[in-house]
Amino acid sequence: MIYYNLNGSEKNLKANDIFMITAGAEDIEINKNELAQRLGVSRGYSDDMIEKCRKRLMGLLSYKCAYINVPVSFRQENICDLEFMQVRSRNLYRNLRGCSRAFVLGVTAGMAVDRELARLRVISEAEYFITDALASAAVDSFCEYACREMSRGMDCARRFSPGYGDLELSCQTELLERINGQGLLGITLTSSYLMVPMKSITAIMGIRQ
């Protein structure tokens, strides 16, 4: 696990400081509940095929997270001001109420996963399905991990992602630009605001204290 800060030393933690957290496949345990739910199996169930897919995927995962810590204010109800962007969203407003700052983050499991999925789609739908579920659970588990790491000792709201409730996916353009999502994480957006690599997450996590 490496943490780094791109612009300056700790004495100089300005609002435009972007931090990174990275991890290898073996550092992150894939959440069992999350995986079981995605596979449609009972918790802890596995078989040869799932293990085969897991092993292959482990060699391809490259976890990266980039995040910032910004002040949060509310000009009026349902409008959240995150300093670099303003969003109108009732659900996010409710989620962030009581927070004075927030982490804004992007995470990805990397491009190699997309290539593997493209390959599996040709050879086996079963392996594609299983690997897709594994990769989704994996990036989610890493996101949980990164959130825990960045918020040590803090009281935080549950992370909230574009696409949840009424928070538009389109806000990902500004969000990713602000955390240098393309440069640091390799994340780009399609015209429908979907992320490539597919196994990527953007989120806002309010800090209460």
Partner: protein, 786 residues
């Protein structure tokens, strides 16, 4: 001003450093694009450039990194003003060059992203034309983290100007681009495209670039550019572990210069002081640009394959000659079959894949482009583009993500005139057939002479001898008794000329029984005579035996590790297939055993009518696992594995049917609606429908309503399945249903996905709500049995 290309051969030049950081200290608000200052604060941009020139830098990067027509409406003005700022600063200075700076478009290219290759070329081309008319000394393509986008930018620069082109890519700590390429692969591609200097920038600090510089020095024949960030201050548990300042930076840069870095400068976080100190520290390091390297290599989007001592295997299976199924696949546009052949050969251990799609009744050029694009998304092997039609070659070479192997040029005037310019423009290694206007020479010396002639002509086009791989042609021994001997002698003669060789090995046995025996023996003798590459069938046990044992016997396989691995795989297979003999097709499908199901189906075909196999074995097995799933006694992954197995058996059975006999259960159009990429549910439905014998037109995900509608109309298909997972995309599902019903009220629409339920489905006008995949299959069955 002198041409920078001449100068970098003799002396060290220095790039400037970061832009954003310095401009922020001059008052640029965080989050604002630095390029906007080209118009609002041109004097400060000029001042920035001057400060770098004062520090001793020679090459100024114009403040145009992020400008293109997709990002800024006033892109042309931003570019022109940006160039003017740099030129103003450089005016009257000695040895100061203005580099027009082009960064990435911000979009990922197909197939993983959305931007088409030619669309990317167009975006860059527009910038290049503006820069050229404004007047710059060179073009710098920088901070590229995708090899494919890099190629698009280089082609745009080359096709729209004669300016020198420098390229730097972003490597991460593992020494690879975000999309996978290592330095050897990038150097192979960029040298082939004719750029003037290559290197790295951004992302990592100078310390992490030491090793990369050594790799560049090993592979590159071109001057090497190193423009690192000011390091990455690491923070561990809230403590800053280290931070690189100008003194540390310049210390590393001196080390980089000693290890082969030629043109030095900085990227994010560096300022004029970093550059000034760097110049000071490297002043006593002698300048020596890389020597010309003599590697013969081709590359993919991840790695380079070197043609050297160890034999190179080129998989021949994607070539319709004599292959009925592939011909059928090409005629019916069945890319999946072709991709499968690619993946199977990759798994079998070949190093390069030959791609030949020449059939008289299809559009070869378009099919080749499609295949090359699609293969690049499922295999990381370099491709050998194989066609007798130069236009087909060009179409594929342009789209190819790397340095391709080109099959082929020959010694006829026409071939040389048409193929050599393509290789000169796009790069690539060429297979040169020893045939000319007088035919195939009968003697080995005659063939070596043709090789010599092609090499000389290629040199006139600037193509190096190392990029010519000569194929002295294997003529079948059944009609040419001395065919093998002449070819072997030709290999020896050509190898002695210092030229690499290749052979289509299996030609030797044409017309003889048990061809594998002759082929593998001939291959062994050819390897002993110095053969480098073989175009061959990797599923031939004889050929693979020769390959692995030859390497073990010739000190190319340390500790015989590869051979031992190969031998272990080979002895294991009979033991594994033994219990499969007990397996019935029914059981194989229920258990989800794909290979076994295909084998059982093959066996059953000997005694059972194809339709009976489907109706009495495959469908009942699917029903069994399907109802186990419905009763929650089996899980979704098991259901899918059974469907995979059923599909494999179905494919075998279909081959046993005469064309009219195949039972047509009906067509279904499937798509995940616009705005949604969550297509797992749709894919499950697809694989189950196919396993039940339905023909599925799968349009993928994030699909426009009109595209779905057009497909239903084109195939006269009355049943359409739509999926959506996000609440935000149910509206686009509704829109799609509306359009379908307007177009043809008799179309029935099934919907499914996590956000839906019966009530919701009724509300948006769907005809059927599938709670799970089996549900949907049952509806399709009842729909078509009406």
């Amino acid at each position: 001003m002198k041409d920078i290309r001449d100068i970098i051969k003799k002396e060290r030049l220095f790039f400037d450093g970061g832009t954003g950081t310095v401009l922020q200290s001059m008052g640029l608000p965080p989050g604002q694009s630095p390029e906007l200052w080209n118009i609002s604060h041109p004097e400060r941009i000029t001042e920035l450039h001057r400060s770098y020139l004062d520090a001793g830098a020679n090459i100024l990067k114009t403040n145009t990194f992020g400008v293109n027509r997709d990002k800024f409406d006033n892109y042309e003005e931003l570019i022109r003003e940006g160039i003017r700022c740099a030129k103003k600063a450089a005016e009257g200075r000695e040895k100061a060059f203005v580099a027009f700076d082009m960064g990435p478009t911000g979009q990922l290219l197909e197939p993983l992203g959305q931007l088409g290759f030619e669309a990317a070329v167009d975006i860059f081309a527009e910038n290049v034309r503006i820069a050229k008319s404004e007047g710059v000394d060179l073009i710098l393509i920088e901070t590229m983290n995708d090899s494919y986008e890099t190629k698009a930018a280089v082609l745009a620069a080359k096709e729209n100007s004669d300016l020198p082109v420098f390229v730097t890519n972003v490597y991460d700590a593992s020494g690879k681009l975000m999309t996978g390429a290592d330095p050897a692969a990038m150097i192979a591609m960029l040298e082939g495209l004719g750029v003037d200097a290559v290197g790295m920038n951004c992302s990592i600090g100078p310390d992490a670039m030491l090793g990369l510089t050594e790799l560049f020095a090993r592979y590159s024949s071109l001057p090497i550019i190193v423009n690192p960030n000011a390091g990455l201050p690491e923070i561990r548990d809230g403590e800053t572990v280290y931070n690189i300042d100008a003194a540390d930076f310049s210390g590393y840069m001196r080390e980089i210069a000693l290890r082969g870095g030629n043109i030095l400068g900085g990227c994010c976080g560096t300022d004029p002081e970093f550059i000034r100190m760097t110049i000071e520290k490297v002043s006593d390091v002698p300048y020596s640009p890389p020597e010309k390297k003599n590697f013969t290599c081709v590359s993919s989007y991840t790695h380079a394959v070197f043609v050297d001592k160890s034999p190179v295997l080129i998989g021949e299976r994607i070539n319709p000659t004599g292959k009925k199924k592939l011909k059928e696949a090409l005629r019916s546009d069945d890319l999946n079959y072709i991709l499968n052949e690619g993946i199977r050969q990759t798994d079998a251990g070949v190093h390069i894949l030959d791609v030949n799609v020449g059939l008289p009744e299809i559009d070869e050029k378009e099919m080749m482009k499609k295949c090359v694009s699609a293969l690049q998304s499922v295999t990381d092997l370099p491709l050998q583009i194989d066609s007798t039609d130069p236009e087909t070659l060009e179409g594929a070479m342009r789209l190819y993500n790397g340095k391709p192997l080109i099959n082929s040029v020959n010694g006829t005037e026409e071939s040389m005139q048409r193929v050599l310019p393509l290789a000169a423009k796009y790069g690539g290694a060429l297979i040169a057939l020893t045939i000319d206007d007088a035919g195939i020479p009968e003697t080995a010396q005659g063939r070596a002479d043709v090789a010599e002639k092609i090499i000389k002509r290629a040199a006139e086009y600037g193509i190096d001898k190392k990029d010519i791989i000569v194929d002295p042609l294997a003529l079948t021994v059944s009609s040419n008794p001395d065919g093998a001997l002449v070819t072997l002698e030709a290999i020896r003669l050509i190898s002695a000329m210092g030229v690499k060789t290749s052979l289509g090995v299996s030609n030797i046995s044409f017309g003889l029984p048990q061809r594998d025996i002759i082929n593998s023996t001939f291959y062994a003798t050819a390897l002993q005579s110095g053969l480098n590459c073989a175009i061959m069938n990797p599923f031939s046990v004889g050929m693979m035996n020769v390959y692995y044992s030859f390497r073990a016997l010739n000190m190319m396989d340390e500790g015989c590790k590869d051979y031992i691995g190969y031998a272990a795989d080979n002895t294991a297979s009979p033991a594994v297939s033994a219990p499969a003999a007990e397996e019935t097709l029914f059981n194989a499908v229920v258990k989800g055993l794909k290979e076994s199901a295909a084998e059982r189906a093959e066996k059953l075909l000997e005694s059972t009518a194809p339709l009976d196999i489907i109706n009495e074995h495959i469908i009942p097995a699917l029903n069994e696992i399907g109802s186990a799933f419905e009763q929650k006694k089996a899980y979704l992954p098991q259901l899918l594995m059974s469907a995979d197995a059923a599909t494999a058996a179905f494919d075998v059975v279909k081959r046993g049917m005469s064309s009219g006999q195949a039972e047509k259960r009906g067509d279904v159009v499937l798509a995940t609606v616009k705005g949604d990429i969550h297509d797992i549910g749709k894919n499950i439905v697809k694989v189950l429908l196919e396993s039940y014998g339905f023909t599925v037109y799968d349009l993928g995900r994030d699909v426009e309503p009109q595209v779905i509608c057009d497909c239903a109309v084109r195939h006269n298909c009355r049943l359409v399945g739509l999926s959506a997972l996000m609440t935000t995309t149910v509206s686009s599902m509704e829109e799609t249903i509306k359009l379908l019903k307007e177009t043809d009220p008799s179309i029935r629409v099934m919907v499914g996905g996590a956000v839906l339920n019966q009530e919701y489905a009724d509300m948006i006008g769907a005809d059927f709500y599938g709670a799970d995949a089996m549900d949907t299959v049952r509806y399709a069955e009842s729909f078509y049995s009406r």
